[in-house]
């Protein structure tokens, strides 16, 4: 297991990634919804090839963190540095162009489109043929369509889903839909992949397969992955750095071993069951 090294900004970074700036660093990030402070003073750094975990009880603010990082919500406070560049003023689309792709806790596929089309939309920005080239069916159109289709099938093959290419995405079983979302996100060629509860609704063998594949994706794409997950076997099995969120605040950060031994975490998860 790799060690976590403190940065000058007090954030932790995986040992093998310390020679380069973190792919993502959040400093004092926070958001209020009216009177409710959903996330506050959120600090985290993610190494360029790290698999990071974000855990915490329901309603802790984990999904909100992803929405902040991808600018679905605009932060009330704090800074987000993506590849050492400030993302202030960027929107969701620009964030994706800059290198963050994500999946959603409540799956957001293009349900009425085919599996292949879903991935092709992920590949949208890797294609460049203009509207006129497409309409006149010029050679560049055929070339790019062919290349994109091959690339899409290759990406689908990560999860052995290439044979499902022609099926409607909405007709897939739940687990396959989650995997398709990951494939579509990978199509946008991200540097950081955010997975919001990727194993939710999967059976243990599916989860084990997913775990292998997340590691495989990190190793073959050389990207960072941050995941929100309730399945502790998965989190403790593949995450190198873990942050624990409770009531919008980070209560602990560290390696899986450190997190498992942390009294504040144990209390947040198990202890103090107040009535009402």
């Amino acid at each position: 297991m790799s060690k976590l090294i403190p940065m000058p900004t007090n954030n932790l970074l995986t040992e093998r990634d310390v020679d380069k700036p973190p792919i993502l660093e959040a400093r004092h990030l926070g958001i209020d919804f009216g009177g409710l402070t959903a996330v506050d003073d959120f600090n985290i750094a993610i190494g360029r090839t790290e698999i990071a975990g974000l855990i915490g009880p329901n309603g802790a603010g984990k999904t909100t963190v992803f929405n902040l990082l991808t600018k679905v919500y605009h932060p009330t406070r704090g800074t987000i540095l993506l590849d050492a560049k400030d993302t202030a003023g960027m929107n969701t689309i620009q964030i994706n162009h800059a290198g963050i792709a994500r999946t959603f806790q409540n799956i957001r596929l293009f349900k009425n489109l085919t599996v292949l089309e879903n991935v092709l939309i992920g590949l949208h920005n890797s294609m460049s043929c203009s509207l006129s080239e497409s309409i006149l069916r010029l050679p560049r159109y055929w070339k790019q369509e062919k290349e994109a289709k091959e690339r899409a099938l290759e990406l689908l093959s990560i999860f052995q889903m290439q044979d499902l290419a022609k099926y409607e995405a909405g007709a897939l079983p739940y687990g396959a839909q989650r995997r398709l979302e990951i494939v579509r996100a990978l199509g946008t060629n991200p540097k950081l992949l955010l997975l919001d509860e990727p194993a939710a609704g999967m059976n243990p063998s599916e989860t084990a397969g997913l775990m292998e594949n997340i590691r495989k994706i990190r190793d073959s794409f050389h990207i960072a992955i941050m995941l929100i997950e309730h399945d502790m076997n998965l989190v403790m099995g593949i995450c190198e750095g873990i942050a624990v969120l409770n009531y919008g605040k980070i209560i602990a950060k560290g390696t899986p071993e450190e997190i498992q031994a942390n009294p504040a975490v144990i209390e947040a998860y198990l202890g103090k069951k107040k009535e009402g």
Partner: protein, 346 residues
């Protein structure tokens, strides 16, 4: 493993090309041989105009997933542009007509951009309200511009008269084919997929890096452009334009065609446009009172379809002759030989 037989692309295009030409020749023959009376020819031209209107509206509703309520407004812009141009352009004949159609599309398209950008940046149903307003404003402006500003080019309430009549079966047929081909090829490209992605899930589309405002505007502008083309054909078909031709009810009529045909199905829009253009003529020949209650019949029809088949009569199904041929070949099992030949050549 048995390989599914697929007709290769060039053959596919050839088959469709031949079909388009044959259909045209059939129409031309029926007209020149006198099988279609001039009354039916008139209906045929109107059918073409409404096919273009419906197919272009389907772009914004069925594909983009928005609800524009001012499609007739764009037809009016195109119609008046073409009408005024044709009346005043020194050169007459086919070149003028072609220019007028293109110009009508461009001016309507510019209006599409001007309305689309502010309306489509907002999430929610603002587009419905803004286009509803746009359609009415255009109608009122056309009605009053001559009296208020003193110009004498729209003819005000009396209408724009004396527009040269160039709209013919070949002209309409070619415009229908170009419109359908344009929209079909656009939708089967990365641009079309981006538009569908927005309809399916806007946040997911953004997260995939799809520039949603850009593609919404693109789809909406293309929709307005072809509405302008339909307006131009309509203007040069009637020779007379009255602002009342392009009221709110006309926008609704076109919307009914799209919804009945099945949102997102081009074939559905084509068929529904044809049927709903012909039906009023048929009703008229039966009885005027029935024809007067046309809109009531539409409403009932719409409610019935929404209850029993909310996705429209054809859903998102699209006709493909080549797919039918493929299906027949695959079922007959002839494909084994073809497939094996394909493998050998590898």
């Amino acid at each position: 493993m048995r390989q599914r037989f697929e007709i290769p692309m060039p053959v596919r295009y050839l088959v469709n090309g031949v079909l388009i030409v044959l259909l045209f020749l059939l129409g031309q023959f029926m007209i020149s041989a006198g099988i279609l009376s001039s009354y039916f020819q008139k209906i045929l031209l109107q059918v073409g105009v409404y096919i273009i209107a419906a197919v272009s509206l389907n772009m914004a509703t069925g594909y983009l997933g928005q609800l524009p309520l001012g499609h007739a407004g764009f037809m009016a812009v195109g119609g008046y542009t073409a009408g005024i141009f044709l009346k005043n352009f020194p050169i007459k004949g086919l070149p003028a007509f072609i220019l007028a159609i293109i110009l009508a599309g461009i001016v309507a398209g510019i209006f599409g951009i001007l309305i689309g950008i502010p309306a489509l940046r907002l999430k929610g149903d603002y587009l419905a309200i803004i286009t509803l307003g746009f359609g009415e404003i255009i109608r009122v402006i056309l009605l009053n511009i001559d009296t208020v500003l003193g110009f004498k080019f729209t003819g005000g309430a009396a209408g724009l008269m004396g527009i040269p009549k160039y709209t013919s079966f070949p002209a309409v047929y070619i415009c229908v084919v170009i419109t359908c081909l344009f929209i079909h090829t656009m939708m089967k490209s990365r641009h079309g997929r981006a538009i569908l992605a927005i309809r399916e899930n806007e946040i997911a589309a953004e997260s995939c890096g799809v520039n949603t405002t850009y593609y919404k505007t693109m789809a909406f502008t293309a929709s307005a452009f072809f509405a302008g083309v339909a307006g131009a054909l309509f203007a040069s078909y009637l020779g007379l334009l009255v602002p009342g031709d392009f009221g709110f009810m006309k926008s609704i009529e076109i919307l009914v065609m799209v919804v009945l045909g099945g949102m997102g199905s081009m074939l559905g829009s084509v068929l529904a446009a044809a049927v709903l253009t012909i039906v009023p003529f048929a009703l008229q020949s039966i009885s005027q009172t029935v024809a007067d209650y046309r809109m009531v019949i539409y409403s009932v029809l719409l409610i019935v379809v929404m209850i029993f088949k909310p996705s429209g009569l054809l859903g998102t199904y699209d006709f493909s002759l080549t797919r039918i041929i493929e299906g027949l070949i695959n079922r007959a099992g002839i494909h084994d030989g073809v497939a094996r030949k394909g493998e050998q050549s590898k």
